[in-house]
Amino acid sequence: MNDRLRTARLVGVGVLALVLFNFPMLAMFDTDALVAGVPVLWAYLFGVWVIVIALLAWIARSR
Amino acid sequence: MPSKVLIVDDEPNIVVSLQFLMKKAGFVTSVARDGEEALGAVAEFRPDLVLLDVMMPKRDGYEVCQELRASGWTDLKIVLLTAKGRETEVAKGLAIGADAYVTKPFSTTDLVDTVTRLLAGEGG
């Protein structure tokens, strides 16, 4: 992957993360219900976090 | 014993005229219609001279000439007949072992002279 594309994709993931980690996405998952034994909000945040890390790893490691 | 001439051409009318001319000059003739037939006819008819058209289906005159020379027909006289008269083609024909090169349309007198001379030269 060329440098320009890699940079653009990484910045894209950063913007995506900023949106997903904030209002209004946050409010959609802000309930005290449990899903599979863990709180919905906690599961959402850590889930998105894992996805973001996976995307970063994929973009940063690809040749 | 009269000399034997094999006529190879795919144009029936030309074959008719050549047969007439050769017979009139006192030679025995046989006819082949394309290159492949020609190779078989040479082996069978064992001619002293071949009148060989260049542009023919299946195998052209150059190929036939080369093949004949390669397979030991060194004494056989070969006269190439061609409608392509450019110098490169004449040179090519002589280079691969033809004894004469006659351009279509030919003068009948010249053709008969060429054939007679080649066959006489062979006779001594």
């Binding site: 990484l10 850590f46 976090w49 | 005229s17 007439f20 542009m55 279509k104 003068s107 009948t108």
Partner: protein
Amino acid sequence: MIDLRVIVVVSVAYLGLLFAIAYYGDRRADRHRSIIANGYVYALSLGVYATSWTYYGSVGRAASTGVGFLPIYLGATIMAALWWLVLRKIIRICKQNRITSLADFAAARYGKSALLGGLVTVVAVVGIVPYIALQLKAISNSFTVLRGEPPAVAGAADPPLLTDTALYVALLLAAFTIVFGTRKIDAAERHEGMVAAVAFESLVKLIAFLAVGFYVCYAMFDGLGDLFGIARADPDLSQLLVLGGFEEYRSWFWLTVLSMLAVLLLPRQWQVAVVENVDERHIRTATWVFPLYLLLINVFVLPIAIAGLTSFAPGTVNPDAFVLALPLAQQRADLTLLVFVGGLSAATGMVVVETIALATMVSNSLLLPVLLRRENALAEHRDLGRSILRIRRITIVGLLLLGYAYFRMAGESLELVAIGLISFAAVSQFAPAILGGLYWRGATRRGAIWGLVAGFVVWAYTLPLPSLARAGLLPASFVDGGPFGIEMLAPYALFGVTGLDEVTHSMMWSMLVNLGLFVGLSLTGRQDPAEHVTASIFIDGMGKLDSSTEARLWRGSATVCQLEVLLARFLGPDGAHSALLAHAERTGADVSPDAAAEAGLVAHVEALLSGAVGSASARFVVASVVDEEPLAVDEVLQILDETSQVLAYSRALETKSLQLQAATTELRAANERLQELDRLKDEFVSTVSHELRTPLTSIRAFSEILSDNPDLEVAERSEYLQIIVAETERLTRLINQVLDLSKLESGGAEWRVEDVDLDDVVATSVQASAQLFRERQVSLEVVADPLRPAPFVRADRDRLVQVLLNLLSNAVKFCPPETGHVEVTSHPDGDWIQVDVRDNGPGVAESDRAVIFDKFRQGGDTRVARPSGTGLGLPISREIVEYLGGRLWVESIPGEGAVFSFTLPIAEGAH
């Protein structure tokens, strides 16, 4: 309860291990076999972001705000995604210009401004010292918890100075920092031993925290589900699982922004990310490994907080100490000690790196500019290098003692997290000057300075000041009623803005004035020459404009000897000499002592000194030995313009050369096409000549035979005459077709396209070829589809007849006599009508199907057809059909016949 001796032995042993690792790291670096030249080590060293504030404080914060502790790490994750863009550029600029600290970076960007460097240093020290105090407090607290004493609460008597563990910890850390942080005068050199130790500490704290997390979740409780279930059932604890409201989202957003900036601008992060970076490619690894690290170290924070709140009665244990208190209450001394060591790692790692970073800033950006400007400073000290190192060492001790003093004074009254956020807010004041200066050419020194000053003042007034008031150091009325009772100035509600939490409130106001002044003053002010130069170097930092341009911007005179003497003062005589030789070898510059120093050499010496004393001081020091002619603004602008013009020219040239290359390729292709056409034409002429000579040969031969042999028999004579006539006809036909084809191909043919009755055309053609069919005894049938509409087509009638005649004579030629059968059918197909001519001849072999449409190419056994075919019928037919907008093709099953089909557009209004 763990015996004090055990705690001390473990602590000392652990610190000893750190010394050993750092020593090993330095030894390896000296032998050029780095152990830190690895993306994962780089990512782990960046883990110094997670301090004891994370280690102990996150649980404390989670115990009061639930998931609210997370933005500090989510923001850092977002910034990690931007590292490849931002951090890489910073690293390149720093490596090129030997910039060693945040303060130096700010100074160097804005015309090597010593004032700005000093300001950044002051803000950093004021903002970070409490943070260092926080680490000392965390260590001290963990000692207390381990010894089973009640955790210190606000107002408790301080222990006597000499028995205070925090003091000894501070001194020990100062020793470590001095040993591994000030080995070399050049601060731009990496501290590999220290980085190795810090990366190791990151690993230790992660393992320890994960261990206690697993223990709490799976040994003390029945997994995450169990803990969350307990929390869900409790009305108080269930509040920790949600954020619940717009105010919370707003704070969350600001915390995200705050941590994005902090993870780049905290001095310790700058130190490990920029100064200690070995290879910029390591950023790619860190981009995902660092966020992963943060995720792992945060997974168990909320569960541990819930476990602590459920296990201990309210008020008995400080939530900041839950991580230690939980295993301790379970009598797990081993696990408790591991957690303690993890906490020690988190705190010491932060203190060491932060202190080195701050010490570099204080010495290079604050003390040296002052010292070197003192009269005779350069003359007095023979060996400046050693004095600079001494200054740095003293600074380190001073900083740690300052931290300790702060801890003694106010530390006990504050939560860990509160101090951490205050520090974050302080360093985020650098963002406009640093990040803005990285991308905005027009940013000026004045804007940067005033923005920073104003932002810092607002920060100080709205965050640390009221917290001091709460700690009892200022009257409490100050917080609520404002100074002198002016409510508009109340520090937590400036100008009556209420309803925000303290950090959001402070960030909003400080960023407003900081950014406002930075942008406003930059837009209204002008840059001086020096600023123009440095701005260009920074903005084009991705390797376009380098210090050679900077060299052009310098005009003055000095001898090499003068410069060498100057360098020797800082690097020692040997160091100075070898540095000059290395430069000479690289650039070919003349470095004999009496030679006049060229601009490139002066720039190089300045860069070397920058690493040692900072860019502002280096500029000053160099200026002291060379006679410098100041450049006027317009001169600088001219030179920079020229440089950018050269860049523009070279870009334009590059574009031009690409265009030329493309044009050449096109020309070559066109030429090849022409040659190919030429070759085809040549071949065509040669073929035509052959085709013409063949009938001529027969004609001449028989004419001569007839003329030479008057005595031929009548039958023979008439046969030969017939041959002559036939061959003459053939010749005529051939000439006509060649002319026809050449007219069609050149577009010179006349066309009369009209609505034509197809049935009529077919009838005409059939009639015209009837004789031919009769001769060869081939039957011909026209099949009309009774259902089709009136078969009018757009065509030229005569040409269409020509096509059909060609196809019919073609068909009859290949049909066996007597049994031959040819069929003509037509049927509409959408807007088209298709005509098929079907024969039952030998068919067309697959390989011949394309070539039969070429000129003079006849398929199959041509002997039979030769006299009547010219080899041009099908090519001409295809030309005609295609001109009329249709298509002509053949389908065939060899042995069973062939179908020649063509299509024509149906006349409009006819269907």
